[in-house]
C-alpha cells in the first residue's frame, strides 16, 4: 500500500493543566481519501487536528506526514503539506485584503513575484472566488469568507486538507456549493464535523473519536448505521434523515 499521508501512532496528549485529551490514537489516511472525523463535543477532535501540523507535540506516540516525522526541524515542510482550515474564517483571514491573505502562506514558503501571483490566482480559482482578490475579508459574505479561507491553504499546495466544521454557519445554498467545490479538489481531505449528512455526502470513510480514543473506523454509511455505537457517543442524524 502507498505511504499514508497521515500516519498517527499511539498519539497521547495531556494539556499543561493536566487534562488528558488523547489516549493513544492510531489513524492512517491514504492519498485521495476523504475522511470524516466525527465525535461529540470535547472528544479531542481539535486537539487531534493541532497535532497534524505540529502546533501541539504528542506527549507519547508519533505523527508522520507522507513519511516525514512531525518534528521541530521539519515544521515548515509539515505545515506546507498539511493545510488546516479553521472553523471561524475571521481567525483564518487576518490580512487586509483577500489577495494578501492567500499570498501569506506561499510567501512564507519563499515564493515571490509572478510565481506568487500565479499561485494566488490558482487557489482563488479553485474555490471559484477569483473576482474577490482585491476585497477586504470583512466585507465578504460568510460563505465567501469560508471559501477564501480554503484558498489560503490551497495556495500552499497541501497534500492533505484538514477542515474544521466546514459546513457550520453556512446557508443551505452555500453548504451545497461548498460540497461541490470540495468534491472537485484533487486533494486528500480530513473533515472534522458534526454535520453527519455532510459526512455521508462527501466522505466514503468515517472515524469516530470519543473521549480521546478512536472508537470506530469504517465506511461512513456502516458507521452511521450502527445505532448502538451512535447512541453511545452522542452522535445523531438530524430528525427526518435516513441513510
Amino acid at each position: 500500500m502507498s505511504t499514508p499521508v497521515l500516519d498517527l501512532r499511539r498519539v497521547a496528549y495531556a494539556y499543561p493543566g493536566g487534562h488528558q485529551a488523547l489516549y493513544g490514537v492510531d489513524l492512517h489516511v491514504h492519498p485521495g481519501e476523504r475522511v470524516a472525523l466525527l465525535g461529540p463535543n470535547g472528544a479531542g477532535k481539535t486537539t487531534l487536528v493541532l497535532h497534524l501540523n505540529g502546533i501541539l507535540t504528542p506527549g507519547h506516540g508519533s505523527v508522520h506526514v507522507s513519511g516525514l516525522p512531525v518534528a521541530e526541524e521539519n515544521l515548515l515542510e509539515v505545515r506546507r503539506r498539511v493545510g488546516i482550515v479553521f472553523q471561524d474564517p475571521d481567525d483564518q483571514l487576518f490580512m487586509p485584503t483577500v489577495r494578501d491573505d492567500v499570498a501569506f502562506g506561499p510567501a512564507n514558503l519563499g515564493l515571490r513575484g509572478a510565481e506568487l501571483d500565479a499561485r494566488v490566482q490558482e487557489a482563488l480559482a479553485a474555490v471559484d472566488v477569483a473576482d474577490l482578490a482585491g476585497r477586504a475579508p470583512h466585507h465578504l459574505s460568510f460563505g465567501q469568507r469560508r471559501r477564501v479561507a480554503i484558498a489560503t491553504v490551497l495556495a500552499m499546495r497541501p497534500e492533505i486538507l484538514v477542515l474544521d466544521e466546514p459546513s457550520s454557519n453556512l446557508d443551505p445554498a452555500s453548504r451545497r456549493e461548498l460540497a461541490a467545490i470540495l468534491r472537485s479538489l484533487d486533494v486528500t481531505i480530513l473533515m472534522v464535523t458534526h454535520d453527519l449528512p455532510y459526512a455521508v455526502e462527501l466522505c466514503e470513510r468515517s472515524v469516530v473519536l470519543s473521549e480521546g480514543t478512536i472508537v470506530a473506523d469504517g465506511p461512513t454509511r456502516e458507521v452511521l448505521a450502527d445505532d448502538a455505537l451512535m447512541a453511545r457517543h452522542r452522535l445523531e442524524m438530524p430528525a427526518g434523515f435516513s441513510l
Partner: protein, 253 residues
C-alpha cells in the same frame, strides 16, 4: 454591518496623489510637515503660502468638500489652545479691538493655527488618497519595526470585527432591558468591556495558530514590493522643498 472609520477615510480616485506609491507619499508628507514646523513663527507670509500649497494639494485629490470638512475637525483641540494662547501668555501687550492681549502669544497662536492647519490638511490629503492596506505596506517598506507594522495591519483588519462584536453585545444587553442612564449601569458596561477584551485576546490566540499553520516564522512576508520612480519622489518632495526654501529665505533676510 461594518462601518469602521477605515472604510470611510479613503476615497477611490485617479489623481496624481492617488497614483503616487504610498511610501513616497508618506515620506513627502512627513518631510513637508517637518519643514513647515521649522519655519520661524514670525514669517507669516511664508506660512500662508505653505497653507495655500497644502490646500491646493488637497483640492487636487478631487475629493468632495463635504467628505473632507468633518475630517479636519481633528484640529479642534489645537485651535482652541491657539485661541486661548494670546490671553494667557505673558510679555508686551497689544490692543486687539476692545481687549489687550499678549503679543508673543498672538504671534505664536497665529503660527500654531497656520502650521497646524497646514499639517492637518496634508494628512487628510494623504488619508483620503491612500488605502489603509497601502499605509501598512509603506510602513513595512520604510523599515518600521515589524511588530509595529503587524499591529497596524491587524488593526486595519480587525477594527471592524471588534466593532461588530461590540455592537452585537450591546444589542444583546439592551434586548434584556438594560439602559445606561446612571452610575449604577457602570458595572455592566465595565464587564462588557472586559468580555470584549477577553474575546479579542482569544481571537488573537486563534489567529496566531492560523498564522503558524501557514508557516509564519516571525516576520510578515512582503508579498507586493513597492517601487518609486525618481520623478515620483521629486513630485512628492516638492512641497517640502518649497517649505525649506521659504524657511531659509526668511532666516537669511
Amino acid at each position: 454591518m461594518g462601518s469602521g472609520h477605515s472604510a470611510h477615510l479613503h476615497v477611490a480616485g485617479d489623481t496624481l496623489l492617488h497614483r503616487l506609491p504610498p511610501h513616497v507619499k508618506l515620506v513627502g508628507l512627513l518631510a513637508f510637515v517637518l519643514a513647515t514646523v521649522s519655519v520661524p513663527n514670525g514669517a507669516r507670509p511664508v506660512l500662508v503660502v505653505l497653507l495655500g500649497l497644502a490646500v491646493a494639494v488637497l483640492v487636487s485629490t478631487r475629493v468632495p468638500v463635504r467628505h473632507v470638512l468633518p475630517r479636519l475637525a481633528v484640529e479642534t483641540p489645537f485651535a482652541v489652545f491657539a485661541l486661548v494662547l494670546p490671553f494667557v501668555a505673558v510679555g508686551p501687550e497689544v490692543e486687539l479691538g476692545p481687549v489687550s492681549v499678549s503679543e508673543p502669544g498672538l504671534v505664536a497662536a497665529v503660527a500654531l493655527l497656520l502650521k497646524g492647519t497646514t499639517g492637518v490638511v496634508c494628512a487628510v490629503a494623504f488619508a483620503v488618497t491612500t488605502e489603509p492596506r497601502d499605509l501598512v505596506r509603506a510602513l513595512q517598506h520604510l523599515r518600521v519595526p515589524d511588530p509595529l507594522v503587524t499591529i497596524a495591519s491587524f488593526m486595519v483588519r480587525y477594527v471592524e470585527v471588534v466593532a461588530d462584536q461590540l455592537r452585537r453585545m450591546r444589542v444583546a444587553r439592551d434586548s434584556r432591558g438594560f439602559r445606561s442612564r446612571s452610575v449604577r449601569a457602570w458595572p455592566a458596561l465595565a464587564s462588557s468591556t472586559g468580555a470584549l477584551f477577553i474575546r479579542s485576546y482569544e481571537r488573537g490566540e486563534r489567529v496566531h495558530l492560523a498564522m503558524l499553520s501557514r508557516g509564519y516564522g516571525g516576520r510578515m512576508p512582503v508579498t507586493a514590493p513597492l517601487a518609486g520612480r525618481p520623478v515620483q519622489w521629486a513630485v512628492a518632495l516638492a512641497p517640502a522643498a518649497v517649505a525649506v526654501a521659504g524657511s531659509v529665505a526668511v532666516r537669511a533676510a
